[in-house]
Symmetry: C3
Subunit: 193 residues, 3 copies
């Protein structure tokens, strides 16, 4: 009977055994994990408002988006500085309290706390990055928007810090922690920066 | 015989083809990813011990728990301050070394380093949050415990900093990094704050 | 025909119904989620370059690797200090700007900003950890390499800070943010420290 039926039947209509089904399932599941939707999403929080810490969320988000991932940055607390219209003036880097910041000459905190050291350190950091062809924060923000990174300002901290929607650059969305979490729980890459 | 049997048979007893099986598998796998257990878990590390950085882990954890996620906060290093019985006195905010902290008037570090500036900045931050109806740290801790967020103190850093279990608020569990990691590896949302 | 064939057939060649297939699929999918490859990977960014913040990435990475996870640390920005050959001298802890750092006696910032306080605070932190049998940074780096944690230095920030490959300890790899992201998107545990 098998001998008769098989040659004239299309392979897909053969009677499947449980073993066949388990093999098919394993193939499909392996494929599904390769296409795992969470692997295509990155949800990043930018909470710091100094020049040096403005780079990592923008570099990581544009890297993720360039790899085809749906990417969001949620700007909260001091991180709101990064998308503020006046960010060029607001983003400063302070050598005080950060002994890891490479300085040409070690400077004790009592000296680096002098008026004038914050602008000096900020200028040094900007020029160091420019010399090495790293994009500026403004260029990274442009790149992020061009490549489809969603920029979301945290409404609660906007209120606390007295900002209004008009204070931020174009293309910024406004939302809360709950909206961020509903995307983050579907993302493999979740980072608080 | 098939000809006779089919009309009177329930559809589920029809002979399935490999195509049928693949369709069923894809439906089931898509459903499974929507129910992905990792999307229902958030594992957060709270490592900072200042007033401003006490808010993000508690706000994010209560947000996740309110969305039905199994949520844990692992308090380690300076983050142990947040669940210390004496947290109201321990959690301070220091304007020195944080040029991003919005101050009514820009103050150079040499001035903000004067005795008295830490209490002043801490009072300012507390009143700013209170004015905007943001819960206090004590209220957020209560909310977190009410909604089932697990609060876990890192035993290793407790020993290093000389704390005992009696130093912490009620409802805190005690555990190590390995226990945290065994939950974090099953969570989409993992953050180090 | 069925009547003849079935009794003499192995159970796995019985005709499967759609219900059978769905049951098999659910079993396989549940198993697959337990073996979820993302649960076996941890991708950690180490961005801070002070003594205190050198501990968390190394402790978490060795914990993850000890649990059998494929673990990488991407050292970027000030985090490059941690894998620098001269890390013992570079990793310092600064009490200024961190009111959470436990000091035997509270010291206002104007005093802790005095020359000499950074070495004192760093010595205190080292001895506190040593007293409590916490491994040193050098020991944790050795443990990480022994257990197979990949240590990756960020090429972009190496250039910005003027480091060359020879500046780093043995066993360090060199790569970019894109390479890090391609692993992180396949990892449940992703943290920016």
């Amino acid at each position: 009977m098998l001998h008769d039926a098989e040659p004239t039947t299309k392979p897909t209509t053969l009677k499947l055994t449980e073993d066949d089904v388990r093999r098919i399932v394993r193939e499909e599941v392996e494929l599904a994990f390769k296409r795992d939707p969470a692997a295509r999403r990155a949800s990043i929080i930018a909470s710091k408002g100094t020049l040096d810490w403005a780079y990592p969320p923008l570099i990581l988000a544009t890297t993720a988006a360039a790899a085809g991932m749906d990417t969001s940055i949620f700007f909260t607390f001091y991180g709101l500085n990064i998308i503020h219209k006046d960010s060029a003036r607001k983003l400063k880097v302070d050598p005080v309290g950060n002994p890891a910041m490479p300085m040409p000459v070690p400077i004790p905190d009592i000296v680096s706390a002098m008026p004038g050291m914050v602008p000096l350190a900020s200028r040094m950091m900007r020029s160091r990055f420019a010399t090495h062809n790293v994009a500026t924060i403004a260029e990274l923000l442009d790149a992020a928007r061009d490549i489809g990174v969603r920029l979301i300002a945290c409404q609660m901290t906007m209120e606390v810090f007295g900002y209004s929607e008009a204070d931020f650059i174009g293309g910024v969305e406004f939302g809360g922690a709950a909206a961020f979490m509903s995307q983050a729980r579907r993302s493999h890459v979740t980072m608080f920066i």
